[in-house]
Subunit: 341 residues, 2 copies
DNA sequence: ACCCTAGATGTAATCGATTACAAGGCTAAA
DNA sequence: TTTAGCCTTGTAATCGATTACATCTAGGGT
């Protein structure tokens, strides 16, 4: 069978016996068209199975109907709920979601510019705080599309952002551990240079200081938010002569890797060391021991970012304020943290 | 500052002192243009920061440069690796990825048709085996875009698909448990009507039969791939008078929910009951006990689906064969399964 | 009966790129 | 010198929808 070309607005117009302008009006502003005409057009549209050609509409309307989401690592399950929140909010506004993994194996720097280009999307949600978005060629920034950060962000940056209160999360965790009686507390960090790492580390140091405690350098373990980072930290902890009695991890995956490796080496959590995570990923409540952690509302965060982008897009041109929306975090107390022996 | 309109091909042409046709040719087929001209055009393009307008190009070229991925639940972390595989392969082919969650709160049936519409995407990857893609209005199927299924699929369906050998996975799990000495084996199913549930259930029954064993109806627990399904199954198992000594779960999340709830009720895994999962999600290796499971290559599966779609798109029009690519699964033996007491 | 207005519809320009075809310039063979 | 033929470039149609503006019709007011 030959490939039948899809019906165009012209076909509908011909069948309905009107002009293309009338068809277009019927579909977008039905109230401006006479009752009889409207019925005829809708019938013709129905009969032909007409659907508007988006490329043509977008070209004419100078928009794309799409939002680009820049994800530092699509394969990381942490992002799935955020993406779901973004998608849901945008779909309700007839916008489609284009996902891009910013950690491509072939990182051409001009890619970044392509992402932000006006003909690609009506706006951008960036989950990657390390993307060099300021280094754009000649005057490109003036014709950039609205961009909001979600989750991560950039310092000294004028872009709107939605994030959780990471320092407050760290404080909740530390207060909790100190409240249980811990005084020797270690910290497993996220990737160096990551804003979340920095904020959570800073919050940890500050919170400890408020309790007249100090974060000893040898009790700070490098990490990268992965399970393996937790495993590595466990080995470092085991090698210490003077061990902290509690460990706060920059995220749940690290906490889980940590606990599993400690368990493999005969160390019981929380019996011999308490552990607190960050994120409250789904599995945290079913881990053994159930993980004490700082919950961040991931889906809501995605939804808020999408809404903020929609608001920014709706603003008069040129406006690009730096609203930062900070969502609250919550301590979820479970079984991986108890009073020290 | 006023919004500067972005440079168009006309502007580049004017600055380079050539026609728009020459600019277009320089950019897409440089070898057809004289050396001198090429340099002038490239310089002008560089100077203005010209980027092609994709809506215009797509309209003219009758393509969209995008692939639509239909995900049954974007928030489910299981899909993240598959999505990463898809994105990576497509990005290498200059295609962008539009993600759609098929479980919208407002499920208009004509949405399905919109997804498949030619002006939305050059092709579709569907991870949702339950989408009613065959129920399309008048002749729509003739002008549909290539579609491949990944992970899930539809029975009696002519679409290409990439999946793992689910029945073989079930067989590996059952053979493993029987090899350990188990004879009383239960199964926790996925959602009713889901092709994966059906295939894994069927594989389980067949494998048991090969060992002259039977899957007792009261040892089959309903589920839906969630942690809570595992928790529910644990309660059902606890309520049994005659309990199976091993449980095979339709996926890892269910297995983790199951083990956590058993643990909460003082039942040790694998001491009192062995558990095998399916998927080998990241955390499986760090769960306590480390989960014995059936690994499916999720990223590779996504990549293969994307490649299969690319191949289908490249085929002469009209061709839409039903190649089904089946990837192998692998038993990953860890610590949640041991010989019965 | 006549004019004016509001409402309905059609005409044609427009969005920005691509490309079939035409046309010009130049080389080389006759 | 002429002409065929190649290489390069320009002209203008095209993709499909939207919409400013022009046009036409019907009805109301005087």
């Amino acid at each position: 069978m030959p490939p039948i070309s899809p019906p165009k607005i012209k076909d509908v117009a011909r069948i309905a016996g009107v002009s293309t302008a009338t068809v277009s009006r019927t579909l977008s502003k039905p109230e401006t068209v006479a009752e009889t005409t409207r019925k005829a057009v809708l019938a013709a549209a129905e009969q032909t199975g007409y659907r508007v050609n988006l490329a043509a509409r977008n070209l004419r309307n100078q928009r794309t109907g799409a939002v680009m989401v820049l994800v530092p690592n699509l394969g990381n399950p942490f992002f799935s709920q955020i993406l779901a929140g973004i998608e849901q909010t945008l779909a309700q506004n007839q916008l489609s979601v284009v996902m891009v993994d910013t950690q491509q194996p072939n990182p051409r720097p001009e890619h970044v510019f392509d992402y932000l280009h006006h003909s690609r999307a009506d706006g951008i949600i960036c989950l990657d705080g390390t993307l060099p978005i300021e280094a754009l060629p000649n005057g490109a920034s003036a014709r950039r599309r609205p961009l909001v950060f979600a989750c991560e962000w950039q310092y000294n940056d004028a872009h709107p952002a939605v994030r959780v209160d990471n320092a407050q999360g760290a404080k909740l965790a530390i207060d909790h551990l100190v409240g249980l009686g811990h005084r020797d507390i270690g910290y497993i960090n996220g990737p160096a240079g990551n804003v979340l790492s920095t904020a959570r580390y800073g919050g940890t140091v500050d919170a400890l200081r408020q309790h007249q405690l100090e974060l000893r350098p040898q009790w700070v373990f490098d990490g990268d938010f992965s399970l393996d980072a937790g495993i590595q930290a466990a080995r470092s902890w085991l090698a210490l002569t003077h061990r902290p009695t509690a460990l706060f991890c920059a995220n749940d995956e690290t906490a889980i890797g940590l606990i599993s490796e400690l368990h493999r080496n005969g160390i019981d959590v929380p019996g011999q060391v308490s552990v607190v995570g960050f994120d409250d990923i789904d599995i945290a409540r079913c881990f053994i021991p159930a993980l004490t952690t700082i919950r961040q509302p991931r889906q809501a965060l995605g939804g808020a970012a999408a809404q903020l982008l929609l608001d920014t897009i709706a603003q008069p041109v040129g406006f690009m304020g730096g609203t930062t929306e900070v969502l609250p975090v919550e301590l979820i107390q479970r079984h991986s943290s108890v009073a020290p022996v």
